[in-house]
């Protein structure tokens, strides 16, 4: 039987991988993918806590499904914004977004 802490440690590792990608990478698409990795870590937590704390209540799974859908919407808008920025600037570097300040 896999203990809950194993899932939580796995989720923490996943979250830290995403955090490392967000902090270090400069390509905006990679940053977006890293954010999604962090969201998936949260989803693992949702399902794990739901399965271990109240096994007959599937609210955690429902939350995970809703979170996946929200992540899909976020990625759609983010990619569209990146596409426009790439057309205007010709680069995908996240430092471009500094020029969007006003």
């Amino acid at each position: 039987m896999i203990p809950l802490s194993a899932y939580l440690v796995f989720s923490a590792i996943l979250f830290c991988i995403g955090l490392y990608g967000v902090l270090t990478r400069k390509n905006a698409i990679v940053v977006l993918m890293s954010i999604d990795i962090m969201l998936n870590a949260a989803n693992v937590n949702f399902v794990a806590f739901s399965a271990y704390s109240s096994p007959f209540d599937l609210s955690g799974q429902v939350f995970a499904a809703l979170s996946i859908a929200i992540a899909a919407a976020e990625v759609a808008v983010g990619l569209a914004i990146l596409l426009v920025v790439y057309r205007v600037k010709g680069r995908m570097n996240v430092r471009i977004f500094r020029e969007l300040r006003w």
Binding site: L23, T24, V62, L66, E74
Partner: protein
């Protein structure tokens, strides 16, 4: 603003990278220690052997029906927003490139007038 062009990565950049890596490692260690120390439940009455799809559907369309509907609206808005953002520049490029093609948008009144008068397609490119 001025970034190093073709030069190898400078020492400050590498130091910054290492500091970020150290911060992430510290955060991960802290998180892992906290997770391992906490008295989490160690076993579950596995309900996953049974059918979980019907209760999941009941939750999605019953208790969480409102959030499900709001999420569908959100996804629709995101879809149309993404399409809008991605299409805007293409229209401008076509308008700037062709100068009155087959579309003849409402904003191109002058180009449309010219096309009606001449009756011929402008531009050297086929298409």
């Amino acid at each position: 603003m001025a970034a190093s062009g073709g030069a190898p990565p400078a020492a400050p950049a590498r130091t910054e990278l290492y500091s970020k890596l150290l911060a992430v490692l510290f955060f991960m260690t802290l998180l892992t220690l906290m997770l391992l120390e906490a008295p989490w439940p160690t076993e579950t009455t596995v309900a996953s052997q049974e059918q979980t799809t019907p209760p999941l559907a009941e939750l999605l369309f019953g208790e969480y029906g409102a959030s499900f509907a709001m999420l569908s609206i959100l996804m629709g808005v995101a879809l149309f927003g993404g399409l809008f953002l991605a299409r805007e520049d293409r229209e401008e490029e076509e308008g700037a490139g062709d100068g009155g093609g087959a579309k003849a948008g409402a904003a191109k009144e002058e180009g449309a007038k010219g096309a009606v008068k001449g009756g011929e397609a402008k531009g050297g490119g086929a298409g």
